[in-house]
């Protein structure tokens, strides 16, 4: 089985760009990825592209070929949709096809336009990731669904809003100096606690912002990298995917995310590692509680123990397991379809040493990316490692 190398990464600034089209954003991200990779566009054998709400935000379906054109690539192109995990689903398909020898060069990425919908419109668009009949019709929103999980967590295992606030404060702190991040300013625990409620117990600063943006990765086989003298010092060494009941109500435990357990287990086995081998993690913190649930399900904390991790300083840049050194979805932003491959781009830069926070993981060689869809009815985990020469 050939190794899958990351030859180049490109990510646009995440933030407010309501006047820009998706094709414009993805064109920028892929331009940067090709420049970073030093790989010819004409060698690309396929585009795998993630996007969630293109029909609602842009009245644009069939975005695969459209985005191949935007990227300047003449190759078959497919869009992947798995809610907020869309581009990780695209990545998994690419990793598998490079490994099995079907393709040697693949462009993978995603993009999302959200801010042009406004807060109410984006809230409505995000809600379609929930079950329309059993959840949305009763008024469940995306923050509302995570609030139901957060309240269940508090009641089941303890912890409070103050613990969650430390997650937000940490991720904002990490985003300082990350010029691609939506927010690059520090916040305090009081800022989080005093922010307007969105869906109690979650407030505005427990929630990721609504952002526009795009990300792209150029993946190549190890053989292609060697034959073409491509500098690609980082590899995707593990991929896992898990699933769960679509509606929260059908799950046995309301404050656990077993789809993450399954995805992480598969990814660890695939890479031949365990949680103890991981040096740092990018997790899907669409809401502060989501980071807690992810860390527990990936084996870094026992169930019910993860909520104090940020407060205890264990997951900060200086901690034993830095989590979301990019700023996470919380501060970096969450243009849904772009998020998964943006996480992998950030990990790649952290490992290569060209990320603003690379010093925090100077000795690190193993990063983990966790990307979830809906209330984690979909989950993908990828292991990303520095290649030892």
């Amino acid at each position: 089985m050939t190794e899958v190398r990351i030859a180049g990464v490109g990510v646009t600034e995440f933030g407010n760009a309501p006047e820009r089209t998706g094709r414009d954003l993805f064109g920028d991200a892929s331009d940067d990825a090709f420049a970073d990779a030093g790989v010819s566009r004409s060698d690309v054998e396929s585009l795998r592209y993630g996007n969630f709400m293109g029909e609602l935000a842009e009245r644009q379906g069939h975005q695969g070929p459209l985005m191949a054109e935007a990227a300047g690539v003449r190759a078959p192109a497919t869009r992947y949709e798995s809610a907020c995990a869309s581009s990780s689903a695209a990545l998994r398909s690419a990793v598998r096809d490079v490994r099995n020898g079907e393709e040697d060069v693949v462009l993978v990425g995603g993009a999302e336009r959200m801010t042009n919908l406004g807060t109410a419109g984006a809230t409505e668009a995000l809600a379609i990731a929930a079950d329309e009949l059993w959840e949305v019709r009763q008024g469940v929103t995306f923050p509302g669904a995570y609030a139901l999980m957060a309240q269940a967590y508090f009641d089941e295992y303890g912890g409070d809003r103050d613990d969650l606030a430390h997650v937000a404060v940490k991720n904002h702190e990490h985003a300082i100096g990350n010029e691609l991040a939506h927010y690059q300013d520090p916040i305090s625990v009081d800022d989080v606690l005093e922010a307007p409620p969105v869906s109690e117990p979650l407030g505005l600063y427990d929630s990721c912002p609504i952002s526009d943006g795009a990300s792209a990765l150029v993946l190549v086989s190890e053989a292609y990298a060697e034959a073409n003298d491509v500098d690609a010092p980082v590899a995707v060494t593990g991929s896992g995917q898990g699933g769960d009941d679509m509606a929260l109500q059908d799950r046995e435990y309301l404050a656990r995310t077993p789809a993450t357990n399954s995805a992480a287990k598969e990814a660890y086995e695939d890479a031949g590692i365990g949680p103890g081998d991981v040096d740092f993690v990018e997790v899907h913190d669409c809401f502060t509680i989501a980071e807690v649930l992810a860390l527990e399900s990936m084996g870094f904390y026992e169930t019910g123990e993860g909520i104090g991790a940020a407060r205890r300083g264990e997951t900060t840049a200086e901690g034993d397991l830095p989590v979301n050194l990019s700023g996470g979805l919380k501060a970096k932003g969450h243009p849904v379809g772009a998020t998964g491959t943006a996480q992998v781009a950030e990990i790649t830069k952290l490992l290569r040493g060209d990320h603003v926070n690379s010093d925090a993981v100077a000795d690190g060689t193993v990063g983990l990316a966790h990307n979830a869809g809906g209330t984690v009815a979909s989950c993908l985990v990828h292991v990303v490692e520095e290649v030892v020469a």
């Binding site: 809600a127 999980m149 409620p197 869906s199």
Partner: protein
């Protein structure tokens, strides 16, 4: 007006809401006694395909809840409103908890299942009343 913006009627779900409105809510029970809510072709726990409509217990228990302040346009006139998940025997159902003081919500609180209408759209929804 149809509850579904696309005009569709889901046989499993809408029959269920009709039954709840008549005070005759039910769940689907397989031969092994697992419970689920419609629409189901098979039991999600064991795959059994012989599913029987079994009356829901009258009393449910609040499992989790949230007070939503930022809504989609379909509920903009309803805010703030309480959404909750309550268990009724072997199944759990999502609904809006009406007529309850948000300060007094707590897990385990007894509720009963009913239907209500959105103040924004007048569409029917599943709801809980304190019991």
């Amino acid at each position: 007006m149809s509850a579904d913006p696309t005009g569709a009627r889901d046989e499993g779900f809408d029959d269920f809401v009709d039954a709840v409105a008549e005070g005759e809510g039910y769940y689907l029970e397989c031969d092994s006694g697992h419970g689920s809510v419609p629409p189901r072709r098979v039991c999600p726990d064991c795959g059994g395909s012989d599913l029987t409509e079994t009356p829901l217990p009258d009393a449910g228990e609040l499992r989790t809840y949230t007070v939503t302040h930022v809504a989609t346009p379909s509920f903009s006139e309803d805010t703030p409103y309480v959404t909750a998940i309550a268990s009724f025997g072997p199944v759990r159902i999502t609904g809006q908890l009406r007529e309850a003081d948000p300060e007094e919500l707590e897990r385990g609180m007894p509720v009963e299942l009913t239907t209500a209408r959105s103040a924004t759209t007048d569409r029917r929804l599943l709801a809980f009343d304190p019991r």
